[in-house]
Subunit: 270 residues, 4 copies
Amino acid sequence: YDDISDCIDLIICLGGDGTLLYASSLFQGSVPPVMAFHLGSLGFLTPFKFELYRTEVAKVLEGNAAITLRSRLKVKVVKDMLQRAGQQPENREPQLEHNGLLPHGHTNSEDGKVTLQLQVLNEVVVDRGPSSYLSNVDLYLDGRLITSVQGDGVIVSTPTGSTAYAAAAGASMIHPNVPAIMVTPICPHSLSFRPIVVPAGVELMITLSPDARNNVWVSFDGRRRQEIQHGDCIKITTSCYPVPSICCHDLVYDWFESLAQNTAEGIRFA
Amino acid sequence: YDDISDCIDLIICLGGDGTLLYASSLFQGSVPPVMAFHLGSLGFLTPFKFELYRTEVAKVLEGNAAITLRSRLKVKVVKDMLQRAGQQPENREPQLEHNGLLPHGHTNSEDGKVTLQLQVLNEVVVDRGPSSYLSNVDLYLDGRLITSVQGDGVIVSTPTGSTAYAAAAGASMIHPNVPAIMVTPICPHSLSFRPIVVPAGVELMITLSPDARNNVWVSFDGRRRQEIQHGDCIKITTSCYPVPSICCHDLVYDWFESLAQNTAEGIRFA
Amino acid sequence: YDDISDCIDLIICLGGDGTLLYASSLFQGSVPPVMAFHLGSLGFLTPFKFELYRTEVAKVLEGNAAITLRSRLKVKVVKDMLQRAGQQPENREPQLEHNGLLPHGHTNSEDGKVTLQLQVLNEVVVDRGPSSYLSNVDLYLDGRLITSVQGDGVIVSTPTGSTAYAAAAGASMIHPNVPAIMVTPICPHSLSFRPIVVPAGVELMITLSPDARNNVWVSFDGRRRQEIQHGDCIKITTSCYPVPSICCHDLVYDWFESLAQNTAEGIRFA
Amino acid sequence: YDDISDCIDLIICLGGDGTLLYASSLFQGSVPPVMAFHLGSLGFLTPFKFELYRTEVAKVLEGNAAITLRSRLKVKVVKDMLQRAGQQPENREPQLEHNGLLPHGHTNSEDGKVTLQLQVLNEVVVDRGPSSYLSNVDLYLDGRLITSVQGDGVIVSTPTGSTAYAAAAGASMIHPNVPAIMVTPICPHSLSFRPIVVPAGVELMITLSPDARNNVWVSFDGRRRQEIQHGDCIKITTSCYPVPSICCHDLVYDWFESLAQNTAEGIRFA
């Protein structure tokens, strides 16, 4: 992928927010500037109108373009394969491969651990998956246990992702320029548990709570869903590879335009 | 089960809300009065303190007891087995049996349809299951399409269930004596979609939306999870078999006591 | 007003929800059937399209009309005038008169109490008024203290009112046919305090909490705002004079149509 | 006040969050470090336990203390006195003086405008005041109209203030180190209007909407409430005088401790 990144100077993205999410996932290192056109209705990530593409592209090529650096999250999943091997020795590794983790993530094996690393633009979701039972995870911040989250799950999102799934789960909407990470519980068992916003740069870690009786599932921008067991952990911090998004008007205007459109019509996610 | 019901005059339930949910599920027809003790902390359904069981049971046996009739929902799932047979002829029926639907539900086969019928005390949940994608279902009321729900899913609950999973999804809390059915979207895509409360006695129906690309999953008081495909439907109405719950003090006091306790500490569900 | 009521067989209301609220306030006893046309966009209370008035009125006069009985709340404010007299003897009574309470309400003086009684169609609101400080009131149900509410205030509404101010404060939306009363805290200090729904027919009472340091204000369908002091109380129960609203299509269709329209565009209240 | 600031090296604050709010309001310019003890239960702003004051103060004097710079908002209210003079020539200026605006704020008169400037630590609140009617204000960001807010009002808060009144109005909770400003509607008429978080440093402006029929009221950390009319405006930006708060443990621990305590027990504000 680094190869791709080196050869590409500008990404032109045609579609919806999902298209841009996919495009950015192709660049796990640095990302070239992205100019995103919405083919349907105006999205949060796709400010340009396709009908005007000639003049808009010309303007950008002339250098008349503001850029928003949309932060991403670097997510590292460390799986305890020894424990897994003990339980179900034969079929776990192939499942990982089936999920495309080995080729896409940077995996390695030390002390029986397999590590997967990914950059996400919207969010990491930890949820109860196919289970009907509450998920029960512990949240650490800079190595210290902050809280346990019981409920349908928890969303760790960028400001960009605050207007996606996190908004549906009750989060406030954060402008992409705010250097922050948002943690949003999904249908939490504790009615007073609110979404929280912490500074960009902290390291979050999520594990199953010691007394959790069910595994949870993690997904990355709605993709590569996989199971998290006791002994595994998910580490999340601000990525050093943001997505440089070319603004249509400017940072403020674009964001509020998309807010107005999407909060009225319904946000789109996953 | 009707046999059981005929032989039992009083249920004494020791445990938590989950215990009472289970106990009531054993009575798919009429239910004898239930006296429920909480072994842990005070629950919504378990008002009696175990330490006082001698005097409390004595009082009840003397006839000094107010009763709340907690309404249940009668849920009927109609599955189009012909369509399934076309797809995956060999393994669907066994899965049903594995989920315990045949023995517990009243199933029959006419025109390739299999019907399952159950009474729930808290709620029917329709959700996206193991999928990372939005669920997309249509909601009918008395045969008329009312709305589509896009999001993590939808909860149809009794007033009793309004303080369980529905509360975590943002619902208001309904006293068990209000004759109503509550419909609560789970993390809806439309930010203005609020939980709605309709009169007891209406017939609700849920199906996959015609353009839904993913199946959804249904569960009954957190149990008997199963997949819903195009062609299937879920019919829900107020059951004529409520659960007669013996009050500890009275209907008003018991409910507000349990509210005070549980909204502070966190509701418990599933 | 009873006179008016006796002479009128049908109310035809042209305007918006506010017009109907006002019209119904003119009938403090029984109310003739109301046929409400929206002159602007579709409201919750005004289902008929004005353009079609000829045919619609004709249909109704022929007797082809379903009717929803929209419950009202009977609100009784008992003010301790002796206490007031002690404090500010000269100017309180005139203020009452200025607010139009004496002529419209049924007031009397016994033991220095002045009683005001009103029927509301949407809600009674108790709030902090011009104060910047939290309001602090106690809520009684059937004579028993249920909870204290600290925050901006509390809304007691009918199902009809659940889609007005209460919705803005986070309440679920209740179909007008559900026999219930809704209690919704406004920006409560306790983050786990949810709106609650109790059966129609209970008697609610609101007073200042004993340790409240600021008076609160009460208003009735957004009108007749007045101050509540220590010693005063507000009693609320379901009125025996509902508003018979003529349906345009039927009860279910009308309500969901207005929901769809108004949750997308923004509810209207006060 | 600058005089005070120059002579004071350390503020020791005994009481609750309100005490610290008041103390910080005394320093309209730069603020010396604040060490805040809670005399009641743990607050958001008062991490130190009074019982341990000897050892805690000693530690701080030795220089062993982490400091959080809690951002404040600089709020400038520009009132069009000419317009007011036309309306009510005799009594407006005295009211201002009564509210303490002249001595505390930096006021001046140019072109008939009177300007008041204040630093707030929690929030600026614009609300409907004693009116029963919706407030209707326009919100500008960096000079551009972003949105109109119809409802009970709007809260512009610091991250510190996000856990106060804004939380009661539904906002997410922002760590004090996130450089941001939060805008939270109070009971908004539009059900999809969510709290939004914008980068520190932007300039917000609030005015009555052109078609607003009622004045609104503004208050500053719950104080100095005053009326805003057509022609007035409120300008808000991040202050260059934050409040240096001495941490008890460290920034992360203190904040999550206070969150855990206060979300369970109820936040305190105003």
